[in-house]
Amino acid sequence: MEIVVCVKQVPDTTEVKIDPVTNTLIRQGVPSIVNPFDKNAVEAALVLKEKHGGKVTVISMGPPQAKDALKECLAMGADAAILISDRAFGGADTLATSYTLAAAIKKLGTVDLIFCGKQAIDGDTAQVGPEIAEHLGIPQVTYVAKVEVDGGTARLEREHEDGYEVIEVNTPVMLTFVKSANEPRYPTVKGTMRANRAEIPVWTLADLEVDEARLGLKGSPTQVRKIFTPKQRTQGVLIQKDTAREAVAELIAKMTEAKIV
């Protein structure tokens, strides 16, 4: 079973401090980490490999220091890692990023499963995984909390606010994972030693079959107009009474109180 996991190196947002004078984020000195949901994807891949055999390859598009993120995944037990890095890829939005990652996955040859985290904690778009599937023309299932594979079929539980959707899908397939999927393992000492000795290959523009116009900043149609925090959806109120009459009375009382009626 060939599994590719796409990971992103992100700033550890729990360590980000606010400059008290300018009220902006202090990015300097903030440690970089593997995007937490991507670690859930790595863990899911490692569990499947342990059960069915095969190979887990971790890929990341980013600057040279993103190798540290890949190294951490190797220390967890991934078999191989590839960094996709070139100035030509810089400034990419999700479309250009997913296009580049998809080209790298094509170069890897036969792949049964492509795993991503549900979203990155810095951009929070949740777009790169699904777009990779579109570029490759394969099915996708997002928000996966559980995965079992039997031959060419994957049986999944897709997490919703109020339950799970059970989906069966043929491989190859792209899955994005949620936090509740698993508890990512710690790297081991042996894994850490191995990861530090490993040479992580870097694939540049020259290594990929791509249309240069679709890469980096110039291949990125996204225009950010405004960034804002969406209004929090408040929890609904459940009125439970012994009889419908009592429940309706309570409802009317509340609606009156809220000046709706």
């Binding site: 190294k71 220390a75 710690y186 790297p187 081991t188 000492v189 042996k190 850490t192 030693m193 530090n196």
Partner: protein, 379 residues
């Protein structure tokens, strides 16, 4: 000269810090309160490879070095000194001598399961009447055919009762004094080997210190570590090495207390300002941080020397002495920064202060360290 850790050492710090925060710290206060030994945490440390960190992969170890090991003990002790000392005793005092003096067969039979974390190790040297004067114990080992018959009582044995593999030191020839002492590997469950009183202590309460009782305990002659008469040398070498572990533990305790004091001083507001803005408090924090840094450097230096085959006994003694005095001073100051809350069990600094005291005593009292240092510089 290079003060930068290798990428591997940095990664091990990161890994152990994360493990300590998620899997050791949450239960530290409760384990201290109820005197619970965390075998599950040791099992997890075994799976991660921490229990064999500095030993070669061919014996089930991690193949890393003594600096990484010191970092691991420090990071664990930063949140739980009890777990830190258990790790140190297992690696330095029990596994270390088997690595150095064991035959290939002994290494495969005893070091491998220790390094792989499948078995836990302990070390039995101290007796009720033989502490610093360790060569003057009354335990005996008498050769009888293909075996030795062991008799004696050891006290304050860290991991005692919980460990599966023990080193036991006893006189094979009392007349020869230190040169008549020998070391034996004894497995839990061997007839004649039992456990006595568990110490009730001021600190490191989640670690276990227990009496080991040997009554006509028969072990195969193949369990003799080194040769007859090597015991004292083995014990002293193990303690030199163990001092790096205790220095790392003490550095970790001090760093943990400093972290807490810094955090609290920024949150606690008096006279309308965080107390960290008052010089009376922040000068204390500056002094604490400087001491911790000095303790760490001495500790890593000793570990580096050991890893690189250089003499390190003096450096390990200095590191242990200075780091343990630092742990005591810094934890006491941390309690002071917290004021009344520091004295309360609501906050972890009082536990750290109680835990710090023992680091000035075990693995050789700080007075014994001065004997070692003076002996080295006056040669």
């Amino acid at each position: 000269m290079n003060f930068i850790l290798t990428p591997e050492q940095e990664d091990i710090r990161k890994m152990v810090r994360e493990f300590a925060a998620k899997s050791v710290a949450p239960t530290a206060a409760e384990r201290d309160e109820k005197e619970l030994f965390p075998r599950d945490i040791f099992d997890q440390m075994g799976q991660l490879g921490l229990l064999g960190l500095p030993y070669p992969e061919e014996y089930g170890g991690g193949g890393s070095d003594y600096v990484s090991y010191a970092i691991a003990v420090e990071e664990i002790s930063r949140v739980c000194a009890s777990t830190g000392i258990g790790l140190s005793v297992h690696v330095s005092l029990c596994s270390g001598p088997i690595m150095l003096y064991g035959t290939e067969e002994q290494k495969q039979k005893f070091l491998r399961p220790l390094a792989e974390g499948k078995k836990l190790g302990a070390f039995g040297l101290t007796e009720p009447n033989a502490g610093t004067d360790a060569a003057n114990g009354s335990s005996t080992a008498v050769k009888d055919g293909d075996s030795y018959v062991l008799n004696g009582t050891k006290v304050f044995n860290t991991n005692g009762g919980e460990a599966e593999i023990y080193l036991f030191f006893a006189a094979t020839d009392k007349a020869l004094g230190p040169k008549g002492m020998s070391c034996f590997i004894v497995e839990k469950g061997t007839p004649g080997f039992s456990f006595g009183k568990k110490e009730v202590k001021m600190g490191i309460r989640s670690s276990v210190q227990r009496e080991l009782i040997f009554e006509n305990c028969r072990v195969p002659a193949a369990n003799l570590l080194g040769k007859e008469g090597d015991g004292f040398k083995i014990a002293m070498g193990a303690l030199d090495s163990g001092r790096i572990g205790v220095a790392a533990q003490a550095t970790g305790i001090a760093q943990g207390a400093l972290d807490e004091a810094i955090k609290y001083s920024k949150q606690r507001v008096q006279f309308g300002k965080p107390i960290s803005t008052f010089q009376g408090v922040n000068f204390m924090l500056a002094d604490m941080a400087t001491k911790v840094e000095a303790a760490r450097l001495l500790t890593y230096q000793a570990a580096f020397k050991r890893s690189n085959g250089l003499p390190y006994a003096k450096e390990a003694a200095m590191a242990k002495m200075f780091a343990s005095d630092t742990a005591m001073a810094v934890t006491t100051d941390a309690v002071q920064v917290f004021g009344g809350y520091g004295f309360s069990r609501e906050y972890p600094v009082e536990r750290m202060m109680r835990d710090a005291k023992i680091t000035q005593i075990y693995e050789g009292t700080n007075q014994a360290q001065r004997m070692v240092i003076a002996g080295n510089i006056l040669r």
